[in-house]
Amino acid sequence: MTLTVRVAGVTKHYGRIAAVTDVSFDLAKSEMVALIGHNGAGKTTLMKLMLGLIRCTRGSIEVLGDNPAAGQFAGRRHLGYLPENVSFDAALTGRETQAFYARLKREPVAKALELLDMVGLGPAAARRVGTYSKGMRQRLGLAQALIGRPWVLLLDEPTTGLDPELRQTFYEVIQRLAAEGTSVLLSSHALTELEERAGRVIIMNHGIKVADGSIEELRRLARLPTKIRLKVSGLESDEMPAWLPSGAPCRRLNGHIVEIDAAPEQKIDLLHRATAEGSSVEDLDVVPPSLDELYAHFLKSTEMPR
């Protein structure tokens, strides 16, 4: 496993305010990591630290073998960054902007311009950026981040303002790059989107890393109940199936659906009971805790001790 980014014990203070406190994590090649946390949790600060735009108060950061804070930026040629609320000089056209960024990265301009078609900006590329909508600026932002086959991609809220179709294309592109060895770190509020895609999730709260692992690992750690939804025929409106163990948390949803909160070790047992002895179960859904619920759980569990 080759590391591309190493963040070790990083703390960043803005005056008295601690934006990030003692955060450590590594990014490996081909990893796609979601950085989640509400506004002000330190996501953008972490990205700026990795870019060397600001210096950490304590700790050390290494990106593609460089220390970004020391003004070493050879590695930045292989780094793509999409800032939150990206903006461009309004007077230039999309094509001129893309060409300018390609030149700065010493990449062939023609190849960079092909990226504009890929993000669906082809027809608008000759128009001034000043006339672009938010979604089009976001597309241009993506196109510039992808210039020159980046090895590390830092994407700050990349899918805001994108329509569903482009969102799909965006994730396809990112996943292809990740498969080819790019490390992708993306922050987002759209947790459901990330659920199936991110191999690893880092949850931040008030500048502290509260969880780090794959979704399965986080589910195991959180021990949140899995929801089992049953469609049962022939039940009275407030009646529960007789085979349910007493004390199992369950409720009725819109008429004939029974929802049971099953702790991880009860899950199989409950399913056995539900399907055994010709019970009147007509349909069955198993819903594992979503990333939303995991996120809420980890936030709550870190706030409790305070």
Partner: protein, 224 residues
């Protein structure tokens, strides 16, 4: 090399925003009118026509070049920070000094282009209308353009300083206008007033402070 890329983009933007056009037209228009109106009292005999133009254009330079330079430069850093374009630019493999140098070269090129073309038009018009122009006058004229561009460079740099220190664009613009008034108008007038009052030379530093006065400085520079 990165600085050159940034400089070319600045020039491109200035052309697109019609900064180049506006500055050139302004300087050319004023220079042409000064050339023909300014030479009316002297007529076409006596003093060499181009020398008169050099003197009147240097007054124009003192007033206008600092203003144009500050207008172009006050937005360079704080504006890009506010719009968020600086954040993205600095994530590229380019050092901060390269960004600044690039902007400086670009802005200076715009200013130099406007000055050379605007003033050059005035000189050309003079020659076309049949005034005799000798070599000494041409040298003086070239020196005047050179010192105008240098003066512009100084004020572009001052503009960057303000732009780097200011918290928002409005403040930067206000400080720049204030500084222009102070350096270009008030300082000169105050000093001249002091010299006029100080006939008895009670205050010797006054005459030496003349060195820091922009009006004589450029006039001397251009008449050598």
């Amino acid at each position: 090399m990165s600085a050159i890329i940034v400089a070319l983009k600045e020039i491109h933007q200035a052309v697109r925003n019609r900064w180049v056009l506006a500055a050139t037209l302004l300087l050319a228009g004023l220079a042409l009118s000064l050339t023909f109106l300014g030479s009316a009292p002297t007529g076409s005999v006596g003093v060499r026509a181009l020398d008169v133009v050099v003197v009147s254009l240097s007054s124009l330079t003192i007033l206008l070049i600092p203003l144009i330079a500050l207008l172009i430069s006050h937005d360079a850093i704080v504006g890009d920070m506010e719009r968020g374009t600086m954040l993205l630019l600095l994530s590229y493999p380019v050092a901060r000094w390269q960004v600044l140098l690039g902007k400086f070269l670009g802005h200076l090129a715009v200013l130099a282009f406007a000055t050379c073309l605007g003033y050059g038009l005035a000189a050309a018009a003079l020659m076309v209308t049949g005034s005799r122009v000798d070599n000494d006058s041409l040298v003086a004229f070239a020196a005047m353009i050179g010192s105008s561009v240098l003066l512009g460079a100084v004020f572009v740099a001052i503009g960057y300083l303000i732009s780097a220190l200011a918290r928002d664009r409005g403040t930067a613009a206000g400080v720049c206008i204030g500084l222009w008034l102070l350096l270009v108008l008030i300082y000169d007038m105050a000093l001249l007033g002091l010299l006029a009052l100080d006939q008895a030379a009670i205050f010797p530093p006054a005459s030496s402070m003349l060195c820091f006065c922009s009006i004589p400085l450029t006039s001397i520079g251009s008449s050598i």
